[in-house]
Amino acid sequence: MIKLKGMTGSIVRCVIPEDLPSADFNSEFGKVMETGGSILNGARIVLDFGARAISEATVTALLSGFVWPSGASVAAWITYDAVSQELLKRAGLRTSEPAPSEGGPCGALVLHRSLRSGQRVEHRGDVIITGHVNDGAEVLASGNITVLGRLNGLLHAGCEGGGEGEDPDTVVVSRCMEALQVRIGSKIGSLGRDAEWWGKRVVASVKDGAVLIEYWPFVKGENAGGVKEETA
């Protein structure tokens, strides 16, 4: 069943469950229009498909069958499927969470799931993932990234930074660090399986122009894992 949820900044989030068969889209969106018609009229909505892939046919069907008739405007199309994200971007559609105020930062994005190979999350703000980030998955956040599961995929924290505007406090936190690369701002840390903190709880940050891995929780000045390879 499709749910409507209020968000900050007068945005309405329309959550489409991943287990809802796409054949039922017409009838389910019809029900949403019946029950939430007054909320949708004039509202900015985020269409949240989770990890579901979105086809050209789905986009056009939703625009003509739901978005335009309801009087809503789409602030973002959210999917973790990287191929669908490319498709939406090529159509000029926004695929990252909208800020409550135009140009401002978003709140933290909390995902209670694991990301599979080929899935990608982009977010303007902090990201917290309670599951694993598998090898081949990507997370790009303008803020910090925390992974409570095992980290095998690619994280890029502070992805909008670089140069003078880079936030020196941006960090990546992982409870089980098994990634071969981590990116913070304009720096890339290439990591090795033979490192003593492999598989451990770590914090990665940028210190003296390079990505530094430290055990987490850490005492300042102790537990440093060493400065890793850095690429500007």
Binding site: D19, A51, R116, S117, H132, D135, G136, R150
Partner: protein, 267 residues
Amino acid sequence: MTPRVIVVTSGKGGVGKTTATANIAAALALLGNKVVAVDGDVGLRNLDVIMGLENRIVYTLVDAIEGNCRLNQTLIKDKRVDNLFMIPTAQSKTKDAVTSDQMVSVCSELRKDFDFVLIDSPAGIESGFRNASAGADEALVITTPEVSAVRDADRIIGLLESMEKSPIFLIVNRIRPQMVKKGDMLGVSDVLDILQIGLIGMVPDDENVVKSANEGKPLTLGDGAQAAVAFKNIAARITGKDIPFMNLEVPKKGFFARIKDAFGGGR
């Protein structure tokens, strides 16, 4: 019973999709089900060879789709088992010879006559995989305990989930318990921790698999081989039977065997 259409897929090539399709299809037929194994790998057909039916091909799946014959004319009956059939694909065509819609209608047609339709998918995530999966309700994902195969399986599972296939079960193929014990190979629990889907079978690395493939006789048509038992167990679990998983742990060696190893005789 409601007919079930299952795609056998993996992402990575060479992990045992075709072997698994042939063996599970034969095992399901031995359990009394009417089964057809469909070669969905247009242009690189292999299922006919593994099942030993290559000399009986007259029409292929692509012939039926192009209207050169009826679908039932492509069916090859396996004479060794009652109720086991195969549909070969074309070797001289490319993946573009079949569309998703055509595969959906082929599967709808086969549902009328069979309890199980097993589709052997090509490797990759492009049109060949998508077409092979289009008509299926369920999926069996095959992986070996290697990092690259597991990553590709993870990708495929994500795609199958977004294609609304359910249930999706995992088969871990070519397990070498000795290597797992030494820490040189991922264990099944490691693979499950990454892929987070239900396990339906663990198949040990068994040289009889290569032998049977070369002979064109699915292992499950014979007895004894460890891999044959594993594939038969998978078929039984598909039909809903609660079969315990095989113990693939390395047996502890006795005193004399350890002495022999110490003097280099155990290699």
